[in-house]
């Protein structure tokens, strides 16, 4: 019997490893389109706001043209989102145990936000000239923006639960003894939850096919809305959405910078005006990002200590880090215990193997996520500096200093900002991709931290390399076609913008 269990786990692990590749690619492809859908409303609404306020036809035309790109990227995001969601349910079918309990309320509430978005995005795109009082149209866009943010909040809620399983009270402290915190109120029936975890561990996700077992567990969750009070949720939401805004606003800025350099010289003032607005959105978001990053980092330190160690690159024996010591403990000489210390504590866990897997998983991931994490941090610092230069350019005194600084490089402040927008795209995209990788890889091997490992929730149906290759090819096809469509659209809208007699 024990031997059978081991075989199940071994085959599940190799299955899961294969399935992970297509899931990773699928999520990144979805994120690629989603970033536009979440970030573009901010830029479009700023353009339209300025256009309405100042009765400026250039801004209104720019907003309108950009909104078409927003509409297509929204459709691509929705389509890939449905695929990702269904793919997750099918390939990681054991995760239905979490979806049917803790994640249910956020996934359900997200539907309302999504539906609102769908209605108003169509309304927004097709009613540009419909209302003499233009603020009505702007309001439609604002509703879409709110809808997309609520939607992101809810979906990230599910991911937050996977990282910080809120509502499990003191359970994780017993599984992972170094996490000396409570994971929210005791909203779970711990014996039922442990029985479910044990069943998944023994039989893999096939355990869920046993209806009698499923029903005999009884109530696992007593408070369906507990997930909404997860402290990881606001931090992750702000950090992630802000990252999307930064990426997209730099992308728009770079298109405008390109037009400035290569477009009609007589219209440079127009391009520059638009550029300063979209760069302004990027700058505000980049200035705020360290705050949101700090929020996320503190949650990680408090509730996912192993990921914190791996991301910060602490050696196995632990060590000091004056900056982190001051920020987290108010003590620059504070000693952060390392993986070795945690390993020695695993014997006191109610499930020592789970505790060991957590430590070893993070330690194994460290060589990958440490550079990614610091790459993200450094990218954030660079973006922060670009934002500071942007804001400084509004002050005559600071602008003067900057001019003299940049003149040695043969650049003015304006030209520096225009050129930096191209770098901003690359840097922000790297930061976003790396940040998400740290978040997910750093949790390895857990689907739900400390409770359900990824190999326990993979489908029992054989996942072959050929199957994975076929799905990945399709994912790439969606990526290529979707991206080509967006680029084509950007090109045609830019062309129309250049030819337009502004409204």
């Amino acid at each position: 019997m024990r031997c059978d269990g081991v075989l199940v786990l071994l085959s599940s692990a190799s299955q899961a490893n294969l399935a992970e590749y297509m899931t990773i690619l699928g999520i990144y492809v979805h994120a690629w389109f989603l970033v536009f859908a979440v970030g573009l409303p901010y830029v479009v609404l700023v353009f339209e706001w300025v256009g309405i306020r100042h009765r400026d036809a250039v801004y209104l035309t720019a907003a309108r043209k950009t909104s078409y790109v927003w509409g297509v990227s929204f459709a691509a995001g929705a389509a890939t989102g449905t695929l990702v969601e269904f793919g997750l349910v099918q390939v990681w079918s054991g995760s239905l145990a979490a979806i049917g309990t803790y994640m249910f309320s956020v996934m359900f509430l997200e539907l309302f936000a999504f539906m609102t978005e769908v209605v108003f995005v169509v309304l927004y795109i097709y009613t540009w000239d419909r209302y003499a009082y233009r603020w009505i149209h702007w309001l439609f866009g604002l509703i879409v923006l709110l809808g997309s943010n609520v939607s992101a909040f809810m979906i990230l809620g599910a991911n937050s639960f996977m990282n910080v399983p809120w509502g499990t009270g003191t359970l994780l402290d017993r599984v992972l003894p170094w996490e000396k915190v409570t994971y929210g109120p005791q909203a779970s029936n711990l014996s039922a939850l442990l029985a479910l975890a044990a069943a998944l561990s023994t039989r893999g996700s096939s355990a869920l096919s046993n209806v009698t077992l499923g029903n005999s567990l009884g109530r696992i969750l007593t408070s369906p809305m507990v997930i909404l009070s997860d402290p990881d949720l606001p931090a992750t939401f702000l950090h992630t959405v802000d990252a999307a805004i930064i990426v997209v606003s730099f992308e728009v800025s770079s298109v405008l910078a390109y037009l400035y350099f290569r477009g009609d010289p007589n219209r440079r003032a127009e391009f520059l005006g638009l550029f300063r607005k979209s760069f302004g959105v990027a700058a505000v978001a980049s200035i705020l990002q360290p705050l949101f990053g700090d929020m996320a980092g503190r949650v990680e330190y408090a509730y996912q200590y192993t990921k914190f160690l791996a991301a910060e690159g602490f050696p196995p024996q632990g060590g000091q880090n004056p900056v982190l010591g001051i920020l987290l403990k108010g003590n620059p000489t504070y000693f952060f215990p390392g993986f070795s210390t945690l390993l020695s504590e695993t014997s006191s866990s109610v499930i020592p193997s789970a505790a060991r897997a957590t430590v070893l998983g993070a330690e194994e991931a460290e060589p990958l996520i440490f550079p990614l994490y610091y790459g993200m941090v450094i990218s954030g610092i660079v973006l922060f500096i670009l934002a500071a230069v942007y804001f400084a350019s509004f002050s005559a005194r600071l602008a003067g200093i900057l001019e003299s600084l940049f003149s040695s490089l043969g650049l003015g402040v304006e030209k520096f900002l225009l050129l930096s927008s191209f770098a901003g795209v690359i840097i922000s995209m790297f930061a976003g991709g790396a940040g998400w990788a740290v978040r997910e890889v750093g949790r390895h091997p857990w689907t739900v931290y400390g409770l359900i490992p990824y190999y326990d929730v993979v489908t029992p149906v054989p996942i072959t390399p050929a199957f994975v290759a076929a799905i990945m090819l399709l994912e790439l096809l969606i990526f290529v076609v979707g991206t080509a469509a967006i680029l084509w659209l950007v090109r045609s809208q830019v062309q129309e913008f250049l030819e337009a007699k502004n409204e």
């Binding site: 078409y68 509409g71 929705a78 389509a79 449905t82 695929l83 269904f86 349910v89 099918q90 079918s93 054991g94 239905l96 145990a97 049917g100 309990t101 249910f104 996934m107 359900f108 539907l111 309302f112 999504f114 539906m115 609102t116 769908v118 209605v119 169509v122 309304l123 795109i125 097709y126 009613t127 000239d129 419909r130 039922a192 996700s205 869920l208 096919s209 209806v211 499923g214 029903n215 009884g218 109530r219 696992i220 969750l221 007593t222 369906p224 489908t459 149906v461 054989p462 199957f467 076929a470 799905i471 096809l477 969606i478 290529v480 076609v481 979707g482 080509a484 469509a485 084509w488 045609s492």
Partner: protein, 382 residues
């Protein structure tokens, strides 16, 4: 209301809405390249514009269908997590075929749209045909769920590693064929009716489009009617509980069932008769007078009502069972989420808000595509 009934209702509403929209998508996906091909053969530019419009309607329907697919998935996973697990496990291959179809169909829809007039006509029609093929793979996979719920063939085999065993389901081929042909006839006849109503303005292209819709829709309707009748006979043989509920005295077994849907079935037959009558009338009656207008309205309303009505008849008779095993079944209460109490307010709010937002969306589509807002401009491709 019990939690089982709420879960059943929630699932039912989302399925009916989703099936209606995906049927439209499927039908339009097949229609667009067929119309384009015919336009190419005859060198008819006006008909080609109709093909492009068809694709536009399809894209919007796809967006709405995607929304309901998400509702459907969440309703399944939330209210029926273990049933969903069993379905994804046992029906892994059919569901993969369906997902493959979605993943193929969506990018090809974009390619088809953006390559219009930029590649050779033959290549473009080939792209459209592959898009239609992708769209057809979706019901080819997903309809196995319904066949399985009515007759769970291959479950033991699938649980022991033979995932293809479910394809031996005797209900599956006919049901799938019926669904596909019904979807094509629905879309084609709806197009015909809409253009027939527009043709009263005297524009020739609307007349052509209306006729073309009938040429495709009527043969599809014939096939749907034949396969529907065959499916009813098979249902009586392999899923007598469902057959008894729907067919009533026409069923060979006439079991006692929770719902007696025979009167509703007679109503459905009435709708099908109306579709036939209005279609044939439109073929025979060339003049664009009040009679043609009335007939076109009847056709439009009855084809749009027919598919969701049929879907209610397909799903409701299973209650209180979730999976039918001949004369009885596995009760829905066995599969309902026992792990948490789903607040009733969630389901009620979902149904209410879903209905309001769907109505708003439909109105939006009407404004955009039918009443033609001033300044209305489709992004890209034009």
């Amino acid at each position: 209301m019990t939690s089982v009934w709420i879960g059943f209702l929630m699932l039912g509403v989302t399925i009916v809405a989703h099936i209606f929209l995906v049927s439209l998508v499927l039908g339009l996906a097949v229609m667009a390249p067929i119309i384009e091909y015919w336009a190419y053969r005859t060198g008819d530019k006006e008909l080609e514009a109709v093909a492009k419009d068809t694709l536009k309607y399809m894209a919007v329907s796809e967006l709405a269908a995607g929304v309901w697919a998400t509702w459907f998935t969440v309703a399944l996973a939330g209210f029926w997590p273990q049933l969903t697990f069993i379905a994804t496990d046992v029906l892994f291959y059919p569901l993969t075929i369906a997902l493959f179809g979605v993943m193929l169909g969506i990018p090809l829809m974009a390619v088809y749209w953006y390559t219009w007039d930029t590649v050779s006509k033959k290549l473009h029609i080939a792209i459209g045909s592959f898009m239609a093929l992708g769209a057809m793979l979706v019901p080819t996979g997903f309809n196995m769920i319904f066949a399985f719920l009515d007759d769970p063939v291959g479950m033991a085999g699938a649980l022991h590693g033979n995932g293809w065993a479910v394809f031996a389901n005797p209900l599956y081929p006919d049901f799938t064929f019926h669904r596909i042909t019904a979807a094509i006839s629905m879309a084609a006849l709806a197009i015909s009716a809409i253009y027939s109503l527009k043709a009263s303005t005297g524009e020739k292209r609307y007349l052509k489009a209306s006729k073309f819709g009938l040429y495709v829709g009527l043969p599809a309707l014939l096939l749907a009617s034949i396969s529907g009748a065959a499916y009813a006979l098979e249902l009586d043989k392999y899923s007598p509980y469902v057959a008894s509920s729907v067919l009533g005295p026409l069923s060979a077994t006439s079991l006692s069932t929770y719902f007696h849907l025979y009167p509703a079935f007679v109503g459905f037959m009435g709708i099908v008769t109306l579709i036939w009558a209005a279609s044939i009338f439109n073929v025979l009656h060339q003049a664009f007078d009040w009679a043609k207008k009335a007939s076109s309205w009847v056709l439009l309303v009855s084809v749009l009502v027919g598919v969701p009505y049929g879907e209610v008849l397909n799903d409701l008779p299973r209650y209180p069972y979730m999976v039918i095993t001949g004369t009885g079944g596995l009760p829905a209460s066995l599969f309902i989420n026992h792990w948490m109490d789903i607040p009733q307010v969630f389901a009620v709010a979902a149904l209410a808000v879903g209905a309001v937002l769907m109505a708003a969306f439909s109105y939006m589509i009407y404004l955009v595509f039918v009443s033609k807002l001033p300044g209305n401009k489709v992004s890209g491709g034009e």
